[in-house]
């Protein structure tokens, strides 16, 4: 067969289960989820939408620091996370705080991460590292975690996320290529929300899909409707099965959208996005389509949703309060977490700051 760009792209058609009206368009691919699972997925998406709204408000009040909005990406973030087991290892990017929370990081610690307090990054028993700021670094590290899980003989996977811009990094390619060469149980997500700050995905690469970048590593690649929680869940579950059965890593591209700005540090999306664009993606809202689907099955109601919203607001309030109560950081704290045994220079500086702090 003659190789053409077209016949490569044909192999990466968008995988979808629910359409924008919440109708099942791919019955054969329906994941095996109980009514409780379906409701729990919706609960998490609603909760996370509220968390985003409250986080933006808290940021504006100066009660949170660094914050990268998540509204619009709930299906992509939570559908994928829902397919993970507790013992799977998560390596999130800076926008992937929701996955971290649902993987076990207490909410008040996520707020401390935002404010810039080391306790926010103390993972405890949660099998995860803090959100990665260096775009791409999480990808090579994921290859290593996955190889580690394989060497330990564990039936677990390493899961990581980056954005569409991140797929242009060298570390992105190196990470998926290493995982492929070592046949390591890793799942690499590219959440393609079409913009890296102001730069549209078309300016990142001439490739028509990001999923096809998997070809360069010789691994499985899938493009998914990232606004369809069932499709994301199913694609992740399949990738996880392949990985723990020794069939290697998968690259999953989720086509998604962020309704808010890039971060709360002054980005204004109206400078680079059209209203038309935004309206089109509003129609694809992952919450409204899944809500329709659940209502059709008699599994959802307005009361239920309001209950979740109230509960989320209360928990967020309590978490902010708990974050407020966290003791302030001291230089001696920062010195003490540098090494197991302090080198000479830090021993001296520790004494210096102990004295300062005792005054």
């Amino acid at each position: 067969m003659k190789r053409t760009l077209e016949n490569v792209e044909e192999q990466f058609e968008t995988f979808q289960i629910l359409n924008e009206d919440g109708e099942v368009v791919n019955e054969d691919a329906m994941p095996d989820l109980s009514d409780e699972d379906l409701q729990e997925l919706m609960r998490r998406m609603v909760y996370t939408r509220i968390l985003d709204q409250r986080s933006i408000a808290l940021n504006r009040q100066g009660r949170l620091g660094f914050y990268a909005p998540t509204a619009g990406q709930e299906a992509s973030q939570l559908g994928s996370h829902y397919a993970m087991e507790k013992e799977d290892f998560l390596l999130p990017g800076y926008r992937d705080v929701p996955q971290l929370i649902w993987h076990g990081l207490p909410l008040y610690q996520a707020f401390l991460f935002s404010r810039g307090h080391f306790h926010g990054n103390q993972m405890g028993e949660t099998q995860a590292v803090p959100p990665q700021i260096i775009i791409g670094a999480q990808i090579t590290q994921t290859a290593g975690v996955a190889l580690g899980l394989k060497k330990r003989g564990k039936k677990n996977v390493a899961v990581t996320y980056t954005g569409d811009g991140g797929a242009s990094q060298g570390d992105f390619y190196e990470g998926i290529n290493f995982a492929g060469a070592f046949n390591a149980p890793a799942i690499f997500f590219v959440q393609n929300n079409r913009y890296a700050i102001s730069v549209p995905v078309e300016k990142q690469s001439a490739a028509q899909t990001i999923a096809q970048k998997a070809v360069a590593a010789g691994i499985e690649g899938v493009q998914v409707d990232g606004m369809d929680v069932l499709a994301v869940y199913k694609a992740t579950q399949d990738a996880r099965e392949r990985a723990i059965n020794g069939e290697g890593p998968t690259l999953i591209e989720t086509l998604t959208y962020r309704y808010g700005p890039h971060t709360m540090a002054g980005d204004d999306p109206t400078r680079y996005r059209t209203e038309e664009d935004e309206n089109e993606w509003e129609k694809k809202d992952p919450l409204s389509r899944f809500r329709k689907f659940l209502e059709g099955k008699g599994l959802w109601s307005e009361e239920k949703e309001n209950e979740i919203i109230e509960n989320a607001k209360e928990e967020i309030k309590a978490a902010v309060k708990k974050a407020d109560e966290q003791p302030k950081q001291k230089v001696t704290d920062l010195i003490s977490i540098m090494h197991e045994e302090l080198p000479q220079n830090l021993q001296e500086q520790m004494e210096e700051y102990k004295e300062k702090e005792s005054k």
Binding site: V145, G148, M338, Q344
Partner: protein, 325 residues
């Protein structure tokens, strides 16, 4: 005891630790079946298997990231960067990531990683093989940087580096790999990191050096003895953190110091050593702290190494200056 070259001592240290700790993993470009481009890992894959000693794709950043991931799963990685000039490819993994993980996770995770890498001039390597880039590493909080100059030190320091629960950059000078043999115990032993070693005692001037420059300093000291000057030669062994206690004790005795490095004057660590000496012992100094270093150019084209690299004559010049200040 056995007579070993530095490279044999290094292999012996890795073999010791592969035996001692099943979490130790050795990997890099050509370190497996091939036994490394300098034979540093010779025979290790055969003895310990491909699961413990293995080749990687050709990508330094990937090697760095993979080391971090393996450490997150409780392994004790000993990756190799084929030549330290290639560290720029993996600066983020080392300085941006592994050096910071204990801190950034508030002690949840630590990185017991030892990055081994050859460097150093005098053997006519091609471009970006011999550059002395230890100064970049020494500026990164969270790293320890070790540079042995003898087979004995190399073994003890490498075993200790591998056992450290925080990242260590272990730099091996190519010219010292096979230039001489020395007695090295066959059994295991360790040398604490952060401790300098007085390689020669003297009372008139202190020569602070590391890497290949230790041998140049010793050669200069021999010459100086003929002229009645007793030079004390301190081999730093660990250049981050520097053992100032040993340096200051020596300076209090000799009152004169020359700090010697192979790196360019604007690089390396001599500037910070000189600065700490004046902060801690200015009243003991009879002369300014002078430095021996390479010119501030890019590392020389190989046939210009002889005129560019600092040598014992450059050391003698600076010692004369501090003696006659």
């Amino acid at each position: 005891m056995a007579q070993m070259t530095m490279i044999q001592a290094i292999t012996n240290a890795m073999q010791t630790e592969l035996k001692n700790d099943e979490n130790v993993l050795i990997f890099g470009e050509d370190v497996g079946q091939n036994g490394g481009v300098f034979r540093a890992t010779e025979g290790l894959q055969k003895e310990f298997g491909e699961d413990r000693v293995f080749d990687t794709p050709l990508a330094e950043s990937g090697i760095g990231g993979m080391s971090i991931g393996l450490a997150l799963q409780g392994f004790r990685p000993v990756p190799e960067i084929q030549f330290f000039g290639f560290v720029f490819e993996t600066m983020d993994a080392i300085s941006g990531q592994m050096a910071r993980i204990r801190y950034r996770t508030g002690n949840t995770y630590n990185m017991p990683i030892t990055v081994r890498s050859p460097f150093g001039g005098g053997v006519h390597t091609p471009e970006l093989h011999a550059d002395s880039l230890e100064g970049l590493m020494a500026q990164q909080p969270g790293l320890r940087v070790v540079i042995p100059s003898t087979p004995y030190d190399a073994k003890g320091l490498l075993i200790q580096s591998i056992r450290e629960n925080d990242p260590v950059i272990f730099l091996e000078h190519m010219k010292l790999y096979r230039s001489f043999r020395a007695e090295v115990p066959e059994e295991e032993y360790t040398i604490d990191l952060g401790k300098a070693d007085v390689k020669r005692e003297g009372s008139d001037v202190t020569l602070v050096a590391y890497g290949a420059m230790v041998h140049s300093a010793l050669k200069a000291a021999e010459q100086l003895e003929k002229d009645g000057v007793q030079a004390e030669v301190i081999d730093l062994r660990t250049i981050s953190p520097v053992d100032y206690e040993t340096i200051i004790n020596s300076v209090e005795k000799t009152n004169r110091v020359v700090v010697i490095q192979e790196a360019q004057k604007q690089a390396g660590i001599a500037a910070s050593v000189a600065s700490e000496i004046q902060e801690r012992a200015i009243l003991h100094l009879e002369a300014p702290v002078l430095r021996v270093a390479a010119p501030d150019t890019v590392y020389p084209f190989s046939s210009a190494e002889e005129v560019w690299l600092p040598n014992h004559n450059d050391i003698l010049d600076k010692v004369n200056k501090v003696m006659n200040f």
